[in-house]
Amino acid sequence: MIRAHVLICGGTGCTSSGSKKIQEAFEQNIAAAGLEEEVKLVQTGCFGLCALGPVVIVYPDGTFYSRVTTDDVKEIVEEHLLKGRPVERLVYSDTGAEEVVEAASVSLNDTAFYKSQNRVVLRNCGVIDPENIDEYIAMDGYAALGKVLTEMKPEDVIQTVLDSGLRGRGGGGFPTGLKWKFCAPNKAAQKYVVCNADEGDPGAFMDRSVLEGDPHCIIEAMAIAGYAVGATKGYVYVRAEYPIAVARLQKAIDQANEYGLLGKDIFGSGFDFDLQIRLGAGAFVCGEETALMTSIEGNRGEPRPRPPFPAVKGLYNSPTVENNVETFANIPQIILKGADWFKTMGTEKAPGTKVFALGGKIEHTGLVEISMGTTLRHIIEDIGGGIPNGKKFKAAQTGGPSGGCIPESLIDTEVDFDNLTAIGCMMGSGGLIVMDEDNCMVDMAKFFLEFTVDESCGKCTPCRVGTKRLLEMLDKITEGKATLEDLDKLEELCYYIKQNSLCGLGQTAPNPVLATLKFFRDEYVAHVVDKKCPAGVCKDLLTFVIDKDKCIGCGLCARNCPVGAIEKTDYIAPGHKLASYNIDTTKCIKCGVCIGNCKFKAISKV
């Protein structure tokens, strides 16, 4: 009889930090201890605390082990599973409490990271085995589909989603119910439901985690959408770069077909729904809805002008509903618990929760789900654990290459679609990159522009040529060759691209530049006028110097310099025995190796 469950994270983050080997080690050690009959091993989806992976949770206690190595497994099995003594040195203990009263009771729900999260979309991630449909059913899975097919009319379903106020989580924030309502009355021989899982923003991995941790909820939601709008075919468009997500989703689709939860006459209602996966080849533009559908049709992924909107003329010119993974993940819960329940969370104009992928200069890199309207400060300082190494917060970047940044002065902004748009930023799909004083905002804007230049599909000129010119201007600024006049031209070109591009990619591509210009114009000015990079990032504007009075003459820097740019001088600083060193700036390539080697902090960037 099973008395304990060992949950091992099998998300992409923990898999790359070795969770597969941990799982094998558990299998061996549990067998060696003769506990196979008593302990069950479960591979789950992402728990969210990716920075602390591989993550292992032992139930019923809920003990949360972080950074487990294969060498630790034997100890966990022998001490915890056999004798009931949690291995305290491995227990993640950031509870936010003054002191841990009883170490054995440190469960993940007590940690500062999880405590103030509100997990709706991620409710099953890290709880169930995503490859086992029965476990999903045990967590009320497919009950919403059953309810819809046996008790509700299609228009009731649409009304419920409308009433809930759910808005598209892919970044646009368009009301989901409205999208469905537009599609439903359009007559066609075949209509489609499409799930956009082409998550392309650098640093964003919300949708991947949902697909990896709870693939059945997407299947269920898409079938519900199909019933609501009268579509019998669905496609999930997912990037080929997400192999684990693709494999689990395919397995889930196969299981659902086997159980008759997909296919013909579901729940004896006469409703048929067929679902297939289409792999994206990694073009960012295919996350744009019309380009995505063009790609599913087998053509080169390029957007087309709207209107007609997909609800009228979408995939194969048929009426199509397209929603993002996270949007779909909300649907079964809304059906089961009702629109009013959904509206108890979040803000008036943006009910519900939002999943964010926390990255950059933050203690807890990972996945968090918070109610809409939570302040950025709470997300970064309390849940995210703040900035490492005592550095100062500078800005948070949201929305990836389409988004903007939020400076420190606006850190108390309550996060929702409208508030972020109001301050010239955008919610985006949920990537949240934290930057500290060591990040140069011009360099950040340049990074995203490089990305959009690479990813522009080339169909329309404002985007294809415009973004390239923008990048060249930014290059000029970071090289110290720009004038103040260039800053005005930069801004003008940004607005031109925004107004004239065909699709969302081009229309939002200048956002990182505009946002940084708005909030960090002084940094641009410093690059242009003073020819200095205040954060010490832009290489062309830096000079590496050795403070001759701090240098003790050990020569470590000179020995490690890859280009031999550091030489001994004649000067011996007072109190030192050896002559100090000097950097020949004409030879220096500004790689920074010398700074890393100097133990006396005698080298600096100016």
């Binding site: 469950h5 004798k83 009931g84 054995a104």
Partner: protein, 122 residues
């Protein structure tokens, strides 16, 4: 899947198997599993509790887990039952048969099996 009843049947069958992951329930049965407890035969006691709780349909309301040495090694195997709003009950010198009896009378019937408690131990 042709009916909601079929779905419900799978859910009922699975619910007890995943409920363990919802964390500790209001009632907790804790078996002392330090060296002293194991030496005195705590493992079969633990097994008996898990089995009886599941078979008795109590999986959703009772959590069975382990703990270390309680400090009364001569009375092992020791089992403590925590119920919300009630005093902790400590059973000593437990066996698998006694465990089944405790599940039946105490956890299901609500009556403490006083003859096995620490208070009645010589």
């Amino acid at each position: 899947m042709k009916s909601l009843a079929e779905l419900q049947a799978i859910k009922d069958k699975m619910k007890d198997k995943v409920v363990i992951r919802e964390g500790a329930s209001s009632t907790r049965v804790v078996v002392g599993m330090a060296t002293c407890g194991i030496a005195a035969g705590a493992r079969p006691v633990l097994g008996a509790f898990v089995e009886a709780v599941n078979e008795g349909g109590l999986a959703q309301s009772v959590t069975v887990s382990q703990t270390g040495c309680v400090g009364l090694c001569q009375y092992e195997p020791i089992v403590e039952v925590y119920e919300a709003g009630k005093d902790k009950v400590t059973y000593v010198k437990m066996t698998a048969d006694k465990a089944k009896e405790v599940v039946e009378k105490h956890l299901k019937g609500g009556k403490v099996v006083t003859e096995y408690t620490v208070a009645n131990c010589e």
